[in-house]
Amino acid sequence: MEKVDIAIIGGGPAGLMASIEAAQAGANIVMIDGREMPGGNYYKKYLYSTGSKDGLIDDQDKKELFEMVDGANRLKIRFLNETTVWGVFRDARFYTTDKDQFPTYSVHDPSFTLALQGPNEVDSIEARSLIIAPGVYDRIFPFPGWTLPGVMSLGGAQLLLKEQGWVPGKRILVAGTGPLLLAVAADLSKAGADIVALVDTSSLLDGWQSIYHFLFGNIGKLIQGFKYWQTLRKYKVPLLFRHAVFHVIGESSVQAAIVGKVDNVGHPIEGTERTYTVDTVCLGFGFLPLSELALQLGCSVHYDTDLRTFLPNHDERMETSVPYVFVAGDITGLGGKNLARLQGQIAGIAACGKLGFLSNDSVINRIKMIYPKLKTEMQFRNALWHQYRMRSGLLDLIDEDTIVCRCEAVHAGIIREAIKEGTIDINGIKRRTRVGMGLCQGRFCGSIVSELIAKETGLSHEDLLPLNTRPPALPVRLRDIINNTNAEKVK
């Protein structure tokens, strides 16, 4: 099996910066990403000219990406593209035979095995250290009708527009909460779609306390936000704050959406409904981290009350509770591209320090230089997600027949019944109702089941655990696994 010093999972802003730092320090590294090209979801729009409609390209970002790619090319970084990491396994030496101490991390030079699937004819790689930078995906809040064709995530709509140059609909409703709503609605308007309304559960008014953090050192981001707002005004897009989509109606695809007011914690207010005729609904309630690989490795997690999700713990060097495993980028709490780049740098430097490619002094000095910038970004991140925090009152929209787990077609009624009968552990509910057992592995329903348990039982989220995750993290064809095993035998 091929051995490397550091395997970097994810080729976005964090993964690219980590790769460059690590390769510069002389480590033998490999960067793995599911896309054809590096850049991740953030930079994808600069890679395909099919998506480069006028005004959708930010020159500064483009320069940044090409600088990183040039750097990676000069350092001859090995990039496994279109490759999925479907499992991470710790060296057997990580485990002791003493059951009381399981697992212990006494090993000084461990190794991790990554199980891969992709066109590059590499089925597994052994690495001495890992940097996990897989990024995030849209969080969805279910309500009646959300499973109809024509409903898509904000990220999905943006990818269609910017990567494929395809406008997903004619009359589009953009709904949810978070800064991406403005960006997607503005870009879709520019591309010629009719945005019938932008529906945001949060309100600009609840953000005034954190205005200091927004302003301090983050003028650039505010200007960007203002530009989106100007675009939406130009195209006369109605902005509905403290509103939510209550219901999506349609036979075989979306035909109309019912929108109404919500209070400051998200409870729908009856009698405020109005109907919009639409063919597409783009939804996004913030993001959730792709933390399954970190969880598979046994990294400890904490619950973030604004993001309402579990995040892997890490120290100031980005190392997790499992030694030699680092995290960087949005998986640590949705800090955006700039924070991801800084965290990637730190993780790359720290991993090289851990493996002896850099002296401890130089690691400390270099991290010290990055920290002031990191702090500013963190302040912005915390203020932003406090403003756009998930509002649990929206749970009232989930009626008994609303599908919570789409993959296994599990309705909210079945889950609520299981909770009422005493199954108050998310993994117990999974075993009982099949929620989260489907192809997406609970990525979309897991957090909702936690919310339902917390609401019905009054338990705090800290007491609930995330869904168990096991390999394969993504569906793998058995034929591919069998072929790999045979290849190993022949060798």
Partner: protein, 94 residues
């Protein structure tokens, strides 16, 4: 290796024929199966018996598994992460 391929010149204007449910349609090189299906008016990508919901384009980044279609007789392929190829046979009906 692939890094060096990246430049602004990846203009993908080549067109070729693919088959959706047996019907020949024109597809653009570089487009995903999902974008091609949407461009040809397919909102439901695959119909499964109730209570399951029809497959459709959703996350676009390969994590939600909601856009699965049958491509060249292989079931359960992610339409959002698969690029169209000449003479590809896509099925959206069971």
């Amino acid at each position: 290796m692939i890094l060096s391929k990246m430049n602004e010149e990846i203009v993908k204007e080549n067109k070729f024929t693919i088959f959706i449910n047996g019907q020949p349609v024109i597809a653009s090189e570089g487009a995903t199966v999902a974008a091609t299906l949407l461009a040809h008016g397919f909102k439901a990508f695959f119909n499964i018996e109730p209570p399951f919901s029809p497959n459709r384009y959703f996350c676009g980044m390969g994590v939600c598994m909601q856009c699965l279609v049958t491509i060249n007789n292989i079931q359960g392929v992610r339409a959002c992460r698969t690029k169209v190829q000449p003479n590809m046979v896509i099925n959206t009906i069971g």
